[in-house]
């Protein structure tokens, strides 16, 4: 049994009233006129007796009446369906409770209301009913599989808590469908408890729930919820040091317009900034520059906003020391400054910064020792010692980008895949050829994956060098099918990557350098060749953190320590190590030995999607799932979330009538008992004379 208005239970303090009544006798103000005090004088009362409780049965009766009255006002209701409803004709049903535990559920009292609604739903199970408890955020998690054991279900609910993940309703509804498809019960119901964040439902197409399934919606969203959230942080390495900027997103009309943000690096205060949002919903906070750090530093931005969602008022990031990409460009003598497009494109790189070194002579071993990437700009693959050093450089992990221009005849060594440059192909069309096929899923084209970006078809190619390379992967082709970009990927024997662009990087054979995509393409080619992984300052919770095997070299296994301190051992395979970011905070990747060295640091933050608390109409879900709507309001009343009909709900809440009836009976008994105990009703003496 629970109470709809538990606040009224404070009225139990009124139990002090009968206590005082029984401890302290009523004393009339007006004296009682009595014929003679002759006998009363001899039986004067003792004061101490007034401090004792007289008439215990009467006292307990009065206490019980007061308590029942308070309970009646607190509106008790039954969670036990079977107590009053006695669904004798009902067969068992299967119920799936979908409980949203995304980060946004931590707003205000949403989580406690959601748990109350889930508990009401579970407590409403009849004798033959079963239920499954599914907690969901971005992914569903079956906390308790379909069972009729309420203790187990409640224990699962007790252990639930909000996560830092975003909301995704579609996977949760799919999981509910899977649960119900395995059911053989005639009555199937789903209780969906969520704040129905707009970001959690993209109108996905999902398989309909089994026929006849009733969908109950318990909307625990807070009307007019407003929020101020830190959604992103950026670390720039400037001349003054590290400059941290953070982006703040305001949602809701009543979102705070002013806030204070404080920056911490490795637990030390590193500056603060005032934030003032005007009409804009997004603001950027600039912190003063701080000195560079030698290693990875744990950075935190704390915002004092006063809103009701605290989880996004803290942003974690990792401030890493700057590591420039060292690129050596090898050119033919006399052509040192003849490629302004390529040089300027690479010089503009800031993330990471590219240190360019130009060589027109042979690359020495010292050059290659310092280099990350070597670009062979329109010259054949070097022969002799330089070629051997270059092949060894690539085999050892270095990157090679060969721009096959007019002077780039020749072949790669077999260790690099054996690419052979054949002849120059001239496109005779007036408009030239284009780059027709691009494997956009390849990391090289990662910047061009977004729709509408990277218009390679606009590139005009008038000449290119034909190549023969059976063992190389073709990443892009011209519209005539000839390879435009090839890769000799890393293998067990060759740790580095070698790329070949068959049309050069000047604007002689192609207008590629004049295209907007030239700069990002060159950046990406260099970064990819140099196997540069731009370790992000922070990742959203729910994503996967990946570290290549090369970064975890010399370690056979690592231990990942979560923000909560949970340690997970991972074997370092050929693909490195991958692990899911489940909670906000810092993940540590350490050597898998006692006191192991810290290898990597990852900062995880709640998804920015969770910052926007705007809700959508959950009725859309009824249409999407093909379920029958429970036709109940999606308020926060726990009973609305329970699977009771209106009549059942009314019956379950009708206990207060019984309580009031019991109070009336008790008062009647109290009246009789009081008269019996005191012997008579109160007597007012009439001393005035009324003559006959």
């Amino acid at each position: 049994m629970a109470f709809l208005v538990p606040l009224f239970l404070a009225g139990l303090a009124a139990l002090a009233v009968p206590l005082l009544v029984h401890l302290r006798h009523k004393e009339r103000k007006q004296p009682v006129r009595f014929p003679s005090l002759m006998f009363l004088r001899r039986v004067q009362f003792r004061e101490v007796s007034r401090q004792q409780i007289h008439h215990w049965p009467l006292f307990l009766l009065r206490c019980l009446a007061v308590a029942l009255l308070v309970v009646a006002f607190a509106r008790p209701f039954l969670r036990e369906r079977g107590v009053l409803i006695a669904p004798a004709t009902r067969q068992g049903r299967d119920l799936v409770v979908l409980l949203d535990r995304s980060a946004s559920m931590g707003f205000g009292t949403q989580w406690s209301r959601a748990v109350a609604a889930a508990r009401a739903a579970l407590d409403g199970l009849g004798g033959g009913d079963r239920a499954a408890l599914v907690l969901f955020d971005a992914v569903p998690h079956v906390a308790v599989a379909m069972t009729g054991d309420r203790t187990l279900l409640n224990a699962g609910l007790d252990q639930a808590s909000p996560s830092s993940r975003p909301t995704r309703l579609a996977p949760a509804l799919r999981e509910a469908r899977e649960q119900l498809l395995a059911s053989d019960r005639p009555e199937l119901e789903v209780v969906l408890i969520s704040d129905f964040q707009r970001a959690g439902w993209q109108g996905e197409v999902i398989e309909p729930l089994p026929e006849g399934t009733v969908l109950h919606r318990a909307d625990v969203s807070s009307a007019g919820a407003s929020n101020l959230a830190l959604v992103q942080a950026e670390i720039l390495h400037g001349e003054q040091g590290i400059v941290v900027t953070a982006q703040v997103l305001a949602t809701g009309a009543a979102a705070p317009r002013r806030a204070t943000a404080r920056l911490e690096l490795d637990g030390r205060a590193a500056g603060s900034a005032e934030l003032a949002l005007s009409e804009r919903q997004v603001a950027t906070v600039h912190f003063p520059a701080v000195p560079r750090t030698s290693g990875n530093a744990r950075g935190m931005i704390r915002m004092t906003s006063g809103d009701s969602l605290a989880v996004d008022d803290v942003f974690h990031f990792v401030a890493r020391p700057e590591r420039p990409l060292r690129v050596f460009i090898r050119r033919r003598p006399g052509t040192g400054n003849a490629r302004p497009f390529l040089d300027r494109a690479l010089a503009l790189s800031r993330r990471p910064r590219v240190d360019l070194a130009l060589r027109t002579g042979e690359l020495s071993a010292a050059d290659l020792r310092d280099a990350d990437v070597v670009i062979l700009d329109d010259l054949p693959f070097p022969a002799g010692g330089e070629g051997g050093r270059l092949a060894a450089f690539v085999a050892g992990g270095g990157g090679l980008l060969h721009l096959l221009g007019p002077a780039a005849a020749g072949a790669w060594p077999a260790a690099l895949g054996g690419l052979r440059a054949t002849g120059v192909v001239e496109r005779r069309e007036v408009t030239g050829g284009t780059i027709g096929m691009v494997r956009r899923e390849h990391p090289v084209f990662e910047p061009f994956r977004a729709p509408g970006s990277g218009d390679f078809a606009a590139t005009r190619v008038y000449r290119y060098r034909g190549v023969a390379a059976d063992s190389l992967e073709v990443l892009a082709r011209y519209d005539d099918g000839a390879p435009a970009l090839l890769e000799a990927p890393a293998t067990a024997e060759r740790k580095g990557r070698a790329l070949a662009l068959t049309t050069g990087a000047d604007n002689v054979w192609t207008d590629l350098p004049l295209q907007p995509l030239f700069l990002p393409l060159m950046h990406q080619l260099v970064l990819y060749a140099g196997r540069h992984t731009d370790a992000e300052a922070a990742q959203p919770v729910g994503e996967v953190a990946a570290f290549g095997a090369d970064r975890l070299a010399q370690t056979g296994a690592v231990v990942v320590v979560s923000p909560a301190g949970e340690r997970t051992r991972h074997e370092v395979g050929p693909g490195g190590v991958r692990f899911s970011l489940e909670e906000a905070g810092f993940y540590e990747v350490r050597e898998a030995r006692s006191g192991g060295r810290l290898l990597e640091l990852v900062a995880a933050n709640p998804s920015p999607d969770e910052a926007d608390l705007a809700a959508f109409d959950p009725a859309d879900l009824v249409v999407a799932t093909g379920a029958r709507d429970s036709a109940r309001s999606a308020g926060i009343d726990p009973l609305d979330a329970a699977t009771l009909t209106a009549i059942e709900r009314e019956r379950n809440q009708s206990l207060w009538w019984f309580a009031l009836a019991a109070v009336l009976v008790l008062l009647a008994v109290e009246l009789l008992l009081a008269n019996r105990l005191t012997g008579f009703v109160r007597v007012e003496p009439a001393v005035s004379r009324e003559g006959p």
């Binding site: 009339r28 004296p31 001899r42 006959p692």
Partner: protein
């Protein structure tokens, strides 16, 4: 004391209820109604054999005392006849009515003083009907009013008790001494009081009335509230006579109070019996018949023994 057969008739007993009597404004009418009804209820002829002068014979009727059957007439006629006597008496009946302030107490429609007034009126009417000489003394701690005994003083007495007002502090010894000093012949003395004095003092005071050879009947009037102390709330109790105040918690003191009162009544009964004084406790919520019957029985015995 002889126990006369008594069956309360419905018509008569209605007039004995104090609450009914309280609605009758005229004391004489009240007394006549009560006495006639009471006597009719006794199933006796209106004229009782209280006189010594023969008047006539009349047929025996059920309810007549068989001792009054004239056996000589029976021997001659073989029928039962009883002797009727001319109602004539020389008995003196003196009413001593306590009008102290405590008598003004009452929890129902009738105070003790009202009850005493009804009782006195009835007895006086009854006595006058028997041609007794009747007198009245109103007293509290002293004699407030004195009406000497006479067969013609009924109206005076009724007027006096109709207009009396409750007095002050009550005391028995002083007034009774005054009455005893003025008593010239033996008779019947009827004392109506609440007797708020120690039993020994009551006994001594009544003994003074007995000293003249009179028969003394005492009616101890008590209100139900005095008997039960039914109050439910603690309060300051004020003595009606002295004005003294005393904190009282009735539910705590009730039992001891009732015990003391009961002891007091038992002692009074013993003391009165020792002094050969008839003593009766009258609950003012109860009908008058008990008091009337007590008086009637005593009056008959007095006549028979003369």
């Amino acid at each position: 004391m002889q126990q006369a057969p008594f069956q309360a008739g419905a018509a008569g007993s209605a007039f004995l209820d104090p609450t009914v009597l309280a609605s009758i404004g005229n004391l004489e009418l009240l007394a006549r109604a009560v006495v006639d009804g009471f006597l009719h209820g006794l199933h006796r002829s209106a004229r009782l054999g209280l006189s010594m002068e023969f008047a006539e014979h009349r047929p025996y009727m059920p309810g007549d005392d068989i001792r009054r059957i004239d056996w000589r007439v029976f021997a001659r006629t073989d029928r039962f006849y009883v002797k009727e006597y001319e109602a004539e008496t020389n008995a003196t009946v003196m009413f001593l009515l306590d009008v102290s302030a405590s008598m003004a107490f009452g929890t129902g429609k009738v105070t003790k003083l009202d009850y005493a007034r009804f009782l006195t009126a009835c007895l006086a009417w009854f006595s006058a009907r028997q041609r007794d000489r009747i007198g009245l003394v109103l007293f509290d701690h002293e004699v407030r009013e004195f009406i000497p005994p006479s067969t013609r003083h009924l109206q005076q007495i009724l007027h006096a008790i109709d207009t009396l007002e409750p007095g002050g502090r009550g005391e028995l010894a002083g007034p009774f001494r005054r009455v005893a000093e003025r008593a010239r012949r033996r008779g019947i003395v009827i004392v109506i009081s609440d007797f708020y004095e120690e039993p020994e003092k009551v006994r001594d005071a009544v003994a003074m009335l007995r000293s003249s050879g009179s028969d003394v009947l005492t009616f101890h009037l008590l209100d139900p509230a005095e008997l039960e102390l039914p109050y439910d709330a603690a309060a300051m109790f004020e003595d009606l006579e002295s004005g003294e105040r005393l904190p009282v918690v009735p539910e705590d003191q009730r039992i001891r109070y009732k015990t003391l009162l009961q002891t007091h009544l038992e002692e009074l009964t013993q003391q009165m019996a020792a002094s050969r004084v008839d003593y009766a406790v009258c609950d003012t919520s109860k009908p008058l018949d008990f008091a009337l019957y007590s008086y009637l029985a005593r009056r008959q015995e007095l006549v028979r023994t003369r």
